[in-house]
């Protein structure tokens, strides 16, 4: 379908800005494996400190890129499936807020005044611009969401008896989760941290801030993941040459995510004091619930791909797999998505370990955690973003892909890299290797008395995998910018491959409405989070003044 010049430019800016910043994020990814493996024993390289680089890596890759992409992909999805373009004023406001906020946060981080990592746990204090910038980025994404919600409600009024397209359900579920969970982090940032970082308030309740952060922090991973899930359900079967095995299963999966994505955040705080064991166990059990939609998805997509392969003449229990279009240039998106799914097998299963109550003692805050989440956020999430960003840029500008052969092998190279990298990190983590640590200075510095020989091989594996990931990332930039800046050769368009359902499916009203699910979502969140917040308020003995990362004495306001 045709898109207006305005919407086309908005989507292109929302892809270009984060991918440009991603060059910084990926550079720091490479630097970290080099520091951590003890190749260099330095606190900083090229005037950028390890922890400053880690902050940039986390914020750019996991917050900026994912949020911009989710909004850009949401615009394209809503416009394509509902045949209505978003309101230009709202869209412009959302874009300006997001870009301005991102630039503010980027300046704060690059100037070294916000080296507090992407979790920004107080009482480490960053420059106020970091908090305000991040908040603006989030609020900008809300504006886009409100606008889509209005479009959906109007569309639904006119189409009461037609089933809402699965991609639209997925987009709205995703942004509803995002809106609700970011309310907590917006409160943390705007009410607790900004006045405190400006010196207007003296101290902050650290457990409360952590609890509010993780109310957001785990739902955040589903906000990363759901755009990929939308692609798995709506594009992948078609790309493979088949049909979606069950659309109803997809709807069930999305609504399960809606009700269970948020009330499980305490599983990041099993080691925290001041929060009761009952709440921790409850939220651990609920995390098993949120694994169910992913099991459903794994089976549904496998069945859809099997159907496609059998139509292409595939036979046997598993031989059909080789009939899938793994290396076809014209369906390169298939390669990006299938590799993400392969990584997610291990990413999802290791995630279950992390969330399993006492098992968390083995892995919490060790390198196992980044090993795990690079199999998720740097797996299905990142690969879907890479593939779809190239797809959208090519279609919206009317330009052919630059270096199509390279484009086809990027996801495979990346996947090999991540598998090696994550094996190294998870193995090291099981041996106690800490995450978020410049190990080159001490634990992996033979000259240091803290040298830890056990971690040499595991961190070397991390380095090898990280190096391959960097090469794949570099090739992606060549293809992305190469496509962006070449001459147009066809008319701009948005044309997603659309997967039909294999079986004729009746519209089930329960899976085509938001109201009951929203009520259930609110209920579960209240039941699980009122006790957690109340524990954080009542069991915390004292509040903490702000600290700079470089100074063990608190910042006292000058009089």
């Amino acid at each position: 379908m045709n898109v207006s010049r305005f919407l086309k430019n908005v989507i292109l800016v929302e892809l270009f800005v984060p991918v440009l910043l991603l060059t910084i994020g990926i550079y720091h990814g490479l630097m970290q494996v080099i520091y951590r493996a003890g190749v260099i024993h330095q606190a900083s390289v090229a005037k950028l400190d390890y922890y400053q680089g880690l902050t940039l890596h986390g914020v750019i890759n996991a917050i900026v890129l994912t949020t911009f992409f989710a909004v850009a992909f949401g615009h394209a999805t809503i416009a394509f499936y509902l045949k209505r373009e978003p309101n230009p004023k709202a869209t412009m406001l959302s874009l300006v807020l997001m870009v301005t906020g991102t630039l503010m946060a980027a300046v704060a981080m690059l100037s070294g005044k916000a080296s507090v990592l992407y979790t920004f746990y107080p009482p480490l204090k960053a420059h106020p611009a970091f908090y305000i910038g991040t908040a603006m980025l989030i609020v900008g994404s809300w504006v886009a969401y409100w606008d889509w919600a209005i479009i959906y409600v109007q569309w639904k009024k006119e189409n009461r008896d037609s089933n809402t397209p699965l991609a639209v359900i997925g987009t709205l579920v995703n942004f509803t989760i995002w809106f609700v969970c970011t309310l907590a982090v917006a409160y943390e940032v705007l009410v607790l941290l900004v006045p405190w970082s400006l010196g207007w308030t003296t101290s902050v309740n650290v457990v409360l801030a952590r609890t509010l952060f993780w109310f957001f922090g785990h739902a955040l991973v589903y906000f990363w993941l759901l755009p990929s899930y939308i692609m798995f359900y709506t594009l992948l079967p078609k790309l493979a040459g088949g049909k979606l095995y069950s659309g109803t299963a997809g709807r069930i999966a999305f609504f399960l995510f809606l009700i269970l994505s948020i009330p499980i955040g305490v599983h990041h705080q099993f080691g925290d004091p001041s929060i009761g064991r009952g709440i921790k166990l409850t939220q651990s059990v609920l995390t098993f619930g949120v694994a169910i939609p992913s099991f459903i998805t794994a089976f549904t997509i496998a069945a859809s791909l099997e159907h496609a392969a059998r139509q292409r003449g595939g036979t046997g229990l598993y031989k059909w797999i080789w009939k899938l279009p793994f290396f076809r240039q014209d369906v390169y998106l298939f390669g990006y998505l299938i590799n993400g799914l392969i990584l997610f097998i291990f990413g999802g299963l290791t995630g279950l370990v992390n969330a399993s109550y006492s098992l968390n003692n083995v892995v919490h805050n060790t390198a196992f955690i980044p090993g795990h989440f690079h199999l998720t956020v740097a797996g299905p999430v990142f690969l879907a973003i890479l593939g779809m960003s190239i797809f959208l840029v090519s279609q919206l500008t009317g330009k052919k892909i630059f270096l199509p052969v390279i484009n086809t092998i990027i996801p495979y190279l990346w996947t090999v890299g991540v598998l090696i990298f994550s094996t190294g990190l998870m193995w090291g983590g099981l041996m106690g290797e800490p995450r978020r640590t410049n190990m080159g200075l001490t634990y992996l510095n033979p000259a240091s008395e803290q040298f830890h020989s056990y971690w040499v091989i595991s961190s070397m594996l991390g380095l090898a995998g990280g190096g391959i990931m960097f090469i794949a990332g570099f090739l992606y930039f060549v293809v992305f910018f190469g496509t962006f800046f070449r001459k147009p050769s066809f008319a701009p368009t948005i044309d997603f491959p659309v997967s039909e359902s294999l079986h004729p499916e009746k519209r089930i009203p329960l899976f085509d409405t938001f109201r009951p699910w929203l009520a259930l979502m609110a209920l579960i969140i209240l039941i699980t989070y009122i006790p957690a917040i109340s524990d954080a308020l009542n069991n915390t003995g004292r509040k903490a003044p702000p600290y700079l990362p470089s100074d063990p004495t608190p910042i006292v306001k000058k009089k």
């Binding site: 099991f295 089976f299 059998r310 139509q311 046997g316 299963l349 370990v353 083995v362 294999l502």
Partner: protein, 41 residues
């Protein structure tokens, strides 16, 4: 049995095998770390 032109007869045998494998890998990973945890008490 496997006739893709008649979807109502399509039995996703491969996908079922994949799902069984997925559950098996899950059990190995999870219980591997479970027993590691018990050994460290």
């Amino acid at each position: 049995m496997q006739d893709p032109n008649h979807p109502e007869k399509f039995v996703p045998r491969g996908a079922i095998a994949f799902f069984v494998l997925l559950v098996a890998i899950g059990l190995v990973i999870w219980f591997g770390i479970y027993f590691l945890m018990l050994s460290r008490i």
